[in-house]
């Protein structure tokens, strides 16, 4: 295997005295789609915050394109080429749909994504472009959040719980759009509680349990029983 695009080496994360991640090792190759699954509180969102620079790490704990980025600020990580679609969408409420997307384009790396490309991916957003972002339905807000992350033309995109709180039909349409996003050679890490959805689009999976990797492997090699055991910490 060639040198991975993203590499985590012994990543720890703390919130004050509480330790949320314990020595997480992970490798993501260019073009791969990785699923990260785990129960509530397993550390999935913490892992996303650590990679994206919102939580400070030791420099060598996160490597991206052979560069140590663990101690960079979130804005510097964004310029390096990593974008996060945050849990709960978190749109800027005083900005319109289009302003949210333009703000996502602050980093403006070279690549296929532009306002027009995002509107082609999610045509409903073109109609709603001048509306306040909070006036949209949950699913449409999620489209804005995804579009906003794409606008920076990242090499690695992190999706944190993109189906959380959405109706099944909306989740389906968002997951149908994912191949279009990833086919451009983009690498993706998908955090998801809905295991079936996550495994359907990814090639490898990491399962987190209480801040540690409890299972990892290729999707086709892993059985449901193994996942259940790794997910809940039951003896396999």
């Amino acid at each position: 295997m060639s040198e991975p695009l993203l590499k985590l080496s012994g990543l720890d994360a703390h919130y004050g005295d509480f330790q949320a991640l314990f020595g997480v090792d992970m490798e993501v190759a260019k073009g791969e789609v990785i699923a990260i699954i785990g129960a509530n509180g397993a550390g999935k969102t913490t892992l996303m915050r650590s990679i994206s620079g919102l939580l400070p790490n030791r420099s060598d704990q996160v490597t991206f394109k052979d560069q140590p980025i663990g101690s960079l600020r979130a804005d510097q990580v964004a310029y390096a080429g990593i974008a996060l679609v945050p849990e709960g969408r978190q749109l800027f409420k005083s900005l319109s749909v289009e302003e949210n997307l333009k703000l996502g384009g602050t980093v403006a790396r070279d690549g296929p994504w532009s306002l027009e490309a995002v509107y082609d991916l999610f045509p409903i957003l073109r109609e709603r472009r001048n509306q306040p972002s909070t006036s949209l339905s949950g699913g449409q807000q999620q489209m804005v959040a995804i579009g906003r992350a794409l606008m920076s033309n990242p090499e690695l995109i992190l999706f944190d719980e993109i189906s959380l709180g959405l109706a099944p039909v909306i989740i389906k349409s968002i997951y149908q759009a994912l191949p279009n996003i990833i086919s451009g050679g983009m690498t993706a890490v998908i955090v998801e509680q809905d295991i079936t959805k996550a495994l359907a689009v990814s090639s490898r999976v990491y399962c987190l349990q209480e801040g540690r990797v409890s299972l990892t492997g290729r999707v086709e090699d892993i059985t449901r029983d193994q996942i259940t055991a790794a997910y809940f910490g039951l003896a396999a």
Partner: protein, 288 residues
Amino acid sequence: MIEWVNAIVQGILLGGLYALFAAGLSLIFGVMRLVNIAHGDLIILAAYLGLSTTTILGIHPFVALLIVMPAMAGIGYILQRGLLNHTLGGDILPPLLVTFGLSVIVQNALLEGYTADPQKLNAGAVETASIAVGELSLGVLPLLTFGMAVAVIAGLQWIFYSTALGRGFRAVSNNQDIAQLMGLNKAHVFGLAMALALAVTAIAGILLGVRTSFDPAIGGGRLIFGFEAVIIGGLGNSWGTLAGGVILGVAQTIGAKIDPGWQVLAGHIAFLVVLAVRPNGLFPRVEH
């Protein structure tokens, strides 16, 4: 009767100056939830910078703005990145205490550098020029001040709602973490917001210095007027701030008309009445 009309018109024009005191205060609070206790003293600092510029270079105070505005903007950026950013966080108390300390330092530095003697900026004929409108006589300087206030607020609105910089201000104000994820360094954005606020302060300081005499101790009073204008108008609403300044100005001139000793008191009473009746101000910003 005409005297009362005159008092009201003069009050409206005076309100322009108060709106200029308030605009920077409101901008800073809006972007980073920082209450800058030193704001009034920074206005006076700008007036003194205007004084030095006009005396050293022998230029008109309004021309001096070309130097004082960038100077204050630079001071604002450095102040924010070097000091105030370190006070921001979950707690509202550290920035209050630090800006209070800054206020004391600025006052005493001005006292040391310029003495306690009252000073004034000399703008020449424009100070006494007036235009007759019917039976009223309107001073050119107050008209200019009011026009400047309208222009500044319109300009700030334009920056906030029509430029990438303003988009960044609003995004950081909404959610600092997510804005950082999008590649905006909040430390830099805050620095730019303070630079913009103090550039406005430069305008306020020069116009104040041309209108009345000033000394290092009067910053606190300007801060109060600015605060009152912001609160009367409603937090986060720039045009509301102008309205707040006008209401404060009119209350003061009407108070002064009744009894010259009541000028400042009447302004405070108007402020308290608004606070009692509409605690969020007259035109609070509607959150979508």
